[in-house]
């Protein structure tokens, strides 16, 4: 077991890769009541074209299957795993993103039992035609709920615009039609390919003894056998540099129009600290251009173009990255135009002053410290960073090293008009 101490943050992480390939991380958190554990596979909604374990040809699986599989993991021959967690005083959950599926619990007691339940249920799939059919009704309602949510529609609508071919454009839950095609055999194919321990990480954060917990996990894993790991072969279509669609409007039952503008970036070939630097440059850039202290925000707010729903978001995952800016606006066309102008001016160095940089960096350092109060943040982000070959604990030191030059170089390289797209949700009545 290796121990890494992060002095500045006053945190210590213990790590070991077990014989079966599973990476186990433990971060003891003194003074906390709760222990939070995540068991995550490096597999998400974009991984829909791959060579199944033991086969030689690529297969293409229905949209929404990673999320469907996540739902179905909880059901076993002897009932629902949620029941077991409840009996042990744990609150369990799961989520599926573009590139990850995570199973988790939080509890203040029975930590070993709950950890065992978590590992065992994820490592013991049980799918039948009958239970698969039953889930289609439930997930169908989940999809319909999102269909009525204008914030989700404008967010996903913009991603659909940005990408012409890449599967990031597919809604994580799929559609009512696509999930209708899912069978238990599909689920086993995906499970056997992506849920091998070598493709997974277990993260434990809470008031635990690291040595004891590590031994407990090791003991559990040593009793199980897994096939020899084979590297997962995924295939993704070549994505053009240009946005797939410049603009789209969606009509919904809303009072206030919603506007999102974004741009995609080519998949980064940087790794480690260089990649972290790139990610941080992106978020500092957006803060400097669109944060609450930026002239842009002040002017747009005072003129009534935006309200406090205005914000921005940067996403960088395995194989893709994009930035989104927007919010509610009574004049989405003007807002979209102003955002694009602001970005293009920044490409030429506009708005990127030392003063704004210093402030954005301070803010980001403070936000990172604050985030370390949250076991959820630590476990989820650490795992995301690890899958992307980064280290979460490098964030503050790297930020302290960065200069304005990192941000101006990023803006110059990444911002291009042809990569832009916009999406509006507009009230139906005015159609």
């Amino acid at each position: 077991m290796e121990k890494t101490v992060f002095d500045q943050m006053n945190e210590t992480v213990y790590h070991e890769q077990l014989d079966n390939g599973l990476n186990v991380y433990i971060l003891p958190k003194k003074g906390f009541n709760k222990t939070y554990v995540t068991f995550t596979t490096n597999y998400g909604s974009i991984d829909n074209d791959f060579i199944p374990n033991g086969e030689t040809e690529f297969v293409h699986v229905p949209d929404g299957i990673a999320h469907f599989l996540e739902h179905k993991m909880f059901e076993k021959a002897d009932g629902d795993v949620f029941q077991k967690f409840s009996s042990q005083g744990a609150s369990a959950n799961a989520f599926t993103s573009f590139t990850r599926t995570a199973y988790l619990f939080s509890a203040t007691s029975n930590i070993k039992e709950n950890t065992e339940t978590l590992i065992d249920f994820v490592q013991d799939p049980y799918f039948t035609e009958q239970t698969v059919e039953k889930e289609k009704g439930i997930i169908g309602q989940e999809i319909r709920m999102y269909d009525d949510n204008p914030d989700w529609r404008v967010y996903f609508g913009l991603i659909e615009n940005l990408y012409k071919d890449h599967p990031v454009k597919i809604d994580i839950a799929g559609t009512v039609e696509s999930i209708a095609e899912i069978t238990k055999d599909h689920l086993y194919t995906c499970y056997n390919t992506f849920y091998h321990p070598v493709n997974m990480s277990l993260f434990i954060v809470g008031p635990v003894d690291a040595g004891e917990m590590m031994a407990f996990v090791k003991e559990n894993q040593s009793k199980k056998s897994f096939p020899e790991p084979v590297p997962v072969e995924r295939r993704f279509p070549e994505e053009a540099e240009k946005a797939g669609l410049e603009h789209k409007e969606i009509r919904m039952s809303v009072n206030t129009p919603k506007c999102e503008v974004g741009f995609k970036m080519p998949a980064s070939d940087r790794t480690g600290k260089d990649k972290l630097r790139e990610e941080l440059a992106a978020s500092l850039l957006l803060e400097m251009l669109f944060g609450r202290t930026a002239g842009f925000y002040e002017k747009a707010y005072e003129s009534g173009l935006i309200d406090d729903t205005f914000g921005f978001d940067y996403t960088a995952e395995r194989g893709f990255s994009f930035a989104l800016v927007g919010g509610d606006s009574n004049d989405p066309s003007t807002l979209a135009e102003r955002i694009q102008t602001q970005l293009l001016e920044a490409k030429e160095g506009g708005h990127l002053t030392e003063e704004a940089f210093g402030r954005a960096r301070k803010k980001k350092i403070g936000a990172t410290l604050r985030a370390f109060n949250s076991p959820e943040y630590i476990a989820n982000q650490f795992t995301r960073y690890q899958f992307n070959e980064l280290n979460l604990f490098d964030t503050v030191p790297v930020l302290e090293e960065m200069t304005l030059q990192d941000v101006t170089a990023f803006a110059k390289e990444m911002i291009k008009a042809e990569r832009f797209s916009s999406c509006f949700v507009l009230p139906k009545e005015t159609a």
């Binding site: 500045q8 943050m9 006053n10 958190k29 003194k30 003074g31 906390f32 009541n33 709760k34 629902d80 949620f82 029941q83 409840s86 009996s87 005083g89 744990a90 609150s91 939080s106 509890a107 203040t108 007691s109 039953k134 889930e135 009704g137 439930i138 309602q141 319909r144 709920m145 269909d147 009525d148 949510n149 204008p150 914030d151 039952s253 809303v254 009072n255 206030t256 944060g291 609450r292 202290t293 930026a294 925000y297 002040e298 707010y301 005072e302 009534g304 309200d307 406090d308 301070k362 803010k363 980001k364 350092i365 403070g366 936000a367 410290l369 604050r370 370390f372 109060n373 949250s374 076991p375």
Partner: protein
């Protein structure tokens, strides 16, 4: 469980509550101001915090104020407006990094406290009142915020049910303000109201973090000069419902129907039976092992979410589900049946044990965030009750199936609200 050191200092006009703990990397100051929920003031109260953070004497614009926060390593400042029974609570939160995690910084806490005091006591004024430009701007934002509730159908349905169910009871008022009342607010009336709220609201101040209680209480007292006052809290009554269950149907152009069933109970937070009520609600609908989830979602695949919520300060229980319109009657029937099951005491050992385990877990987990700690304390303060966490945990353990059923028997269905979409093809 970690024992955090909690202390209360009674000052003229307000109380300071300190929680000393080293487990956080930030220090947090929270100010809560409560006053009766009233139609005449609810909208001004919703507006006020937004005007206050639009500029201070020292930083006379929103951008200047936000710049000061960013300079304090992105100190987090926000306000919100909520209800506790028939009282209206404004909360101001300031969270700043603990400088021991930063290279060569000091005095962050004092600077954050000064900034918070600037917002409350030294707002940017023009000719003795809030600048008209700021008030107009924030009125427009507030109107947009209220209007956009319509866009989030789940939230809209929840608010609509409460509004319909409570009629003239102040609890019907939305804490975010009334659209029709924004227009008539002007700079002078808002400034007068601000002074009144500052002088008359019931004030509680909380400090959570790596601080020394006595030292920090003295600092608070010197920075936040609240005057002495004699404020009387409002007694919240659950109120009585109609003779017959009311049904309200609304249609919009949406995909999923939102079913919200509103109920009343006479058991509120201060009642000795409150914890039994909390357990009853847990068995009924708060978790993924609860009756509503198991029967509406798992057995019948009718919904993705199916739950019940308890607002213990009012005695309000809501059952919620997102369903297809064609399943309306079936879902209402199942929900009513499950409520009857509760009342008849058809509760298994497993159900009550799971519920107790999860309620205790939730309560213990709440002590892991500064805001969670404050919310637990404030439940007691706002209801004049003494139920510290340890006692609360013991009370949960002591609830029997009979007492949970007896608590459920106090629940009566008042209003069935259904927001539905287009006809099915």
């Amino acid at each position: 469980m970690e024992t955090t050191r909690e202390q209360t200092f009674a000052k003229p006009g307000y109380n300071i509550h300190t929680i000393e703990t080293e487990k956080f990397k930030t220090n947090t100051i929270i100010i809560k101001m409560r006053a009766p929920l009233q139609k005449e003031t609810v909208t001004m109260r919703a507006l006020l915090p937004h005007v206050l953070q639009s500029g201070t004497e020292n930083a006379p614009s929103a951008a200047a104020f936000r710049t000061e926060l960013d300079e304090l390593y992105g100190a987090l400042f926000f306000s919100d407006s909520t209800k506790k029974g028939n009282e209206h609570v404004l909360t101001f939160t300031m969270e700043a990094a603990n400088e021991k995690y930063l290279h060569g910084e000091n005095g962050l806490f004092d600077r954050a406290l000064t900034l918070l005091a600037d917002v409350l006591f030294r707002p940017h004024l023009k000719e003795g009142v809030f600048p008209d430009k700021v008030v107009q701007q924030e009125k427009r934002s507030l109107e947009q915020r209220i209007r956009s509730i319509y866009d989030d159908k789940t939230r809209y349905a929840s608010l609509k049910l409460v509004e319909e169910m409570y009629g003239d009871d102040p609890y019907a008022l939305p804490a975010g303000g009334l659209l029709g009342k924004v227009g008539s607010i002007d700079t002078a009336s808002l400034y007068t109201y601000y002074q009144k709220a500052l002088a008359e609201d019931i004030i509680d101040i909380f400090v959570i973090g790596d601080v020394k209680a006595e030292e920090v209480a003295a600092k608070i007292e010197s920075h936040l000069p609240f005057q002495n006052r004699t404020a009387t809290p409002v007694q919240t009554e659950p109120g009585t419902g109609p003779q017959e269950v009311r049904e309200i149907h609304e249609k919009q152009d949406i995909n999923q129907g939102k079913l919200n069933i509103g109920c009343r109970t006479t058991i509120t937070y201060g009642d000795p039976q409150f914890v039994a009520m909390q357990v009853a609600n847990g068995i009924f609908g708060a978790f993924s092992h609860s009756k509503l989830f198991m029967n509406v979602r798992e057995k019948e695949s009718l919904a993705y979410y199916a739950a019940s919520r308890l607002d213990s300060h009012k005695g309000f229980v809501a059952m919620l589900a997102g369903i297809d319109q064609k399943n309306y009657e079936k879902t209402v029937r199942i929900m009513k049946e499950q409520l009857e099951e509760m009342k008849n005491g058809h509760i298994s050992d497993l159900e009550i044990n799971q519920t107790k385990a999860l309620l205790k877990n939730q309560l213990q987990e709440s002590a892991d965030t500064a805001r969670g700690l404050v919310e637990v304390l404030y439940h007691n303060l706002a209801s004049g009750t003494k139920r510290p966490i340890n006692q609360w945990l013991e009370e949960i353990d002591a609830v029997t199936k009979e007492r949970a059923a007896a608590a459920a028997q106090t629940i009566t269905i008042d209003t069935v609200y259904f927001l539905s979409g287009k006809e099915e093809e």
